[in-house]
Each structure stands twice: as C-alpha cells, then as structure tokens.
Symmetry: C2
Subunit: 343 residues, 2 copies
C-alpha cells in the first residue's frame, strides 16, 4: 500500500495496513535546515517565494520521514488578497482591525487564483514532485471563526474579548464577516484541490474559546457549509479544532471525513463517538516529543489502540510542532508509527 493510498483510505474509513503519519507544522523552526532557509527573509515573503516554500514543504519528507506533505503557508495567506493590511510578528497583526459593517463590506473577496496565485503554483510544483513518489499532498485553510478572531481583535489574544464583545453587541457584523470569510475559504480550498491538494485540513485555532452553545452558533455553521461546498469527491476534509474537548460531538456534526483532535481530547472516547461517521486524527501533546524514544513509541502504540473504534486513524500530534522540539523526538514518533505495520 503506497503512502497516498494509505492516507486517503484512512481519511475515508477504508481498510489500511496501518495508520498513516504526518505532523502539524512539520515544516518549521525545529528543523535547522528550515531555520537556514528562513534567515533574512520575512515569514510573509517566505510564503510568497515559490522556490523556498516548495523546498521547506519537502524538508520533513526527506529529513524526518513524514508520510504526507502539507504546503508551507499560513492560515492568513488568503487574507493577503482582501486588501487588509497585515504583518506577522510572529502571529498575524492586522493594521486596521475590522470593527464595523462598512469594513466587512469593503473586504475584497476575489478569486484566490488571482489574488494569491503563488499558493497554487506551490501546490502544482509540489504535486509534480510528489506524485512519482506516491506521497500525498495536503492543502489547508483557517476556519472563518479563527480568521475573524484575528481580523476583529487585531492580533492573537488570550481571551479575544474584543471579538466576544462584537459577538454579544453587534452579532450582525460578525455574522456578515463570517459569511464573507466562508465564501473565501470555500473558494480557496476548492482552488487548492484543483491545483493538486489530495486532502484538505481546516484549522479552527480559536473556536475552542467558545462555550458549546456559542460554538454551535458561531463556528459549526461555517464548518458545515464548507463541508457541503467543497469538492469532497476529489479531496477529503479534515477538521481540526484547537482546545475543543467540549465540542467533539459538534465537530462530527459538521460532517468532515476526519476530526483532528487536540491532545486534551480523550482519544478512545472520541473514536467511539466517531465510529462509522468519521475517521480520527491525532493526538499526542507536541511537548511529549521531548520524552525518550521508547516513551514516544509507547504513546504511539496506545493511540493506535485507542483509535480503533473509529473507522480510520491518522497518527499526528494534537497541535503543531513547537520550535524547541528535538528532531530525534519527531523521528521517534514517525518511526514508531511505521513499526505499527510490522507488529
């Protein structure tokens, strides 16, 4: 079974020889080779530099043996085309945060193929490289709630209280913003699929700040709409919600092919709930890659067992790899996943 087949079958709940493995933020600062390529260039320029973006996307395949490639970019990349002034330091910083209906209306939601063409060039190049090796290519996007969180708050925040004030005081402004961002995200992901992405992951980094009831009102509808409007026959959809232990049921209700779980979610319980409805992805704490290789291997084996009640399982972390992660920890994780097939 080749790597592309294994990943796509696992996403769709078809039989596989063992769970495939990749890691969120696998192309990142923990790799010395990545840090070298990033030297003297801003994060934003790196995302737009097709040659470098292709190169760093491929690094984890060569350096640590991950079994899928996700293209190097940021969840905020499609926002570059909307006319919003943006910087990264290191998270997105919005020059003029969106606080009014007028600003929402002024957002340019153009065809991403024209507004951020480099993304699709990167994907086409990567697919060309990966197809002969039978390694699957993943696309991704930020979910509308998370994009809105940064656009309204202006930057990352512990409580996102400006965003939540809008939610309580001007819900119609936030609703309009989410509607526009949902259209953008659908176009952006479908264009990625057209350019060669074989599965796509939707990242909702901040929806876990919502209570369950608010999540149903403010995050779930966009997930559902995106799930319905994507070309799912061409690429399965993976839904990741950070800090979402309280909304696993709602993640399933959105109807993705795979739910990708934070490390705080009880994997065995989530797998039982998912059952035949969805596959599960995850969910080791990225900090656990600091442990000894045999401890990491035991965690991988335990996750594989706990995920069994779900129709499929993709081994991954519960959050992106952190910069201070030892490369040997990442290798131990991937090696342990590969060993599963031979037991």
């Amino acid at each position: 079974m080749d790597r592309t087949e294994r990943l796509l079958r696992a996403c769709r709940g078809e039989p596989v020889d063992r769970p495939p493995v990749w890691l969120m933020r696998q192309a990142g600062r923990y790799l010395p080779e990545y840090r070298r390529l990033r030297e003297g260039i801003s994060f934003l320029d790196m995302c737009r530099d097709v040659d470098r973006a292709v190169e760093v996307s491929l690094q984890p395949l060569q350096l640590v043996g991950t079994e899928a490639v996700i293209f190097f970019s940021d969840i905020f990349t499609p926002i570059l085309g909307t006319g919003v002034g943006l910087d990264f330091s290191p998270g997105p910083v919005v020059a003029e945060p969106i606080r009014s209906a007028e600003q929402v209306a002024e957002l340019r939601i153009d065809d991403p193929r024209e507004s951020v063409p480099f993304v699709f060039e990167i994907l086409r190049r990567l697919r060309g490289e990966l197809e002969p090796q039978r390694v699957p290519l993943l696309g991704f996007a930020g979910a509308p709630f998370t994009l809105a969180a940064y656009l309204v708050e202006g930057k990352g925040s512990r409580h996102f209280s400006t965003l939540k004030r809008m939610l309580h005081r001007e819900p119609e402004v936030l609703r309009a913003l989410l509607a526009r961002l949902t259209d953008l995200t659908v176009d952006y992901l479908n264009a990625q699929i057209e350019a060669g992405a074989q599965a796509v992951q939707l990242f909702d980094t901040w929806a876990g700040l919502l209570s369950r009831e608010e999540y149903r009102e403010w995050a779930l509808p966009a997930h559902r709409e995106i799930a319905a409007r994507l070309d799912r026959a061409a690429a399965p959809l993976i839904l990741y919600v950070n800090d979402g232990a309280h909304v696993v049921e709602e993640m399933l209700e959105a109807g993705p092919d795979v739910i990708s779980l934070d490390w705080r979610v009880d994997l065995a319980d989530a797998a039982r709930r998912a059952g035949s409805r969805a596959s599960v992805q995850g969910n080791l704490d990225p900090c656990a890659l600091q442990a000894r290789p045999e401890v990491i291997a035991a965690a991988v084996q335990r996750m594989a067992q706990e995920a069994e009640p779900a129709r499929g399982h993709i081994l991954n972390l519960g959050h992106g790899i952190l910069p201070d992660t030892p490369v040997e920890g990442v290798r131990a994780f991937i090696d342990a996943a590969r060993q599963l097939g031979s037991q």
Copy 2:
C-alpha cells in the same frame, strides 16, 4: 437565610432557598473605584498594603452586591516568602526560574503566618467587618501545578514548553517541587482558615494544559492531598481548574466540596456527574457580561436549571472578570441570581 449560611450550605450540598452568587476576580480593574485605589502603587505593594487590600476586597460587596467577599491578593503571594525573586507585569515574572533540584531544595517553605503575615491581617480585618453583616469570607491559593508552571517557565506562556520539558526529562525535579509547594499550600490555606476564611478556593489555572493522563499524574495528587489535609470541618474546599472540560471526573476524584467550572464545561453534564458527590460552581463566560441585561438574566436562569442534578450550586463565572467588563453587566448577573429566589 443569611448570605453566610446560604453559601456554606450550598458548598456542602444542604438545602438553600436559591443559589448564592459571587464572581471570580470581583475586586478588579473593571471597577473605576478599584482603578483609583491602584493608581501609583504596584500590584505587589497593593497586596501587602492591609488597608487598601481590605478596601478593594469590600468594594464589590458595596458596588455590585456580590454575596461573598474573597480577599484581595494574588495566587503568587505565598511565594513571596520563599526567597524567589518576583515581579508582576501583570502576571508573575520569576527572576531566576527554577530548573534544578538544588533550586527546589533552596526554596524556603516557612510558616506563612510569619513569611506573609499581612495576608492573615487582611483576613482578620475582613472577617471583623463581614461577620456582623453575615457575609461569608473566602480564602484562596494557587494549586501547586500552577505555581510550579510559573516558577519553572519564569512567566506566563501559551504552551509552557519549558515546564513540559521538565515533566518529560526531569520528572523527579518537578515532583520534588510539587511536593514542597503542596506543603506550602496546605499551610497557607489552613492559616487562612484560622484567620477567618469560611471557605477556600484552590485555583489551578494551568493544569488544563495537561492531557487527562498527565493531569492524573501531575495535578490530581496535589489536589487530593490538599483536600485531605485542610481543616474541612472549618471551611469547605472549592476546586477550580481553568480549561478543564476534559478532566471533570478527575476534579471530582480529588474530593473537594465544590468543583468550579470553566465556561466551556457543559454545566448540565458536570452537574449530573457531580450528583451527590460535590456541588458545582459557575460557569458563565466572563465575556458574556457584555450582553444585554435580559440576555444575562436568561443565562443565569439556564445555569440554575442545568445545575439542578448536583447537590448544590454557586452562581459564578467560568473565569475571572476581565478588565473591559461593563459594571452594568456584573450588576445584571448578580441581580438575576437574586431574582431566582422570588420565582
């Protein structure tokens, strides 16, 4: 039924006429009167200034009508007596983070009555003020894991990856640190009870960053030990875990009188689990105090209903009040709680 009786009975699951109400961080920057008293004085000096600390502790009683008083201080106050260099900006910043067994051994764990005597003077003064009005006085402390998190990391952090590296690589150092902090916390809370605190709340702000399995190893044992060693006949124990939707069962296993819930925890589900084992406290999102008064009132009514399966309920937020909270929102919350009795 007076306020002291109502709160203490609710903690212990005895019949009450309606749920009592107070709010985490009710003495805080959202109050203009608080901001005036804080002008030109550092947070640390404010905690040590008995007159001012007493005055701000009493402000919410007079200004918004809360039904319990928690003494003004910080979870890091007892650390002032350990010899660790500390500053607040605004969270705790540790001059020399603890990274070795030697540093753990050097911590001075003296009798808090001698190392931070002002705390008990504040409590005695407050109890003297409140007893005639029959308003209950609450003490509090940070849980050992949360204190250790700051002491090891050096300051607040999104992932606390230095702390987690210690957990994986030098577990015996972290275990020794937690043991010493557990002794300190027990002494500190028992001394508060002796000085007049009628119930005490243990805050575990960062234990929610742990997976369920790690929580059982690194947070639960200290909770259990504190629960066992406190003078519970004199003061019931309330246990709060921030972002702990995945560890409600473990919170109950620690054996506190009350579990205090983050806004992301499904209150109805937690109340069912708690049943006759514990009362529940919470759990409105503090950001929801931005909503219109009638929306806040409806949320209070819903929480009271959802909490019914538990043996008792204390109305509160799911996190401390945020600085940008409108005072009228806080009043609406408390007024709605008081209305519950008359329906």
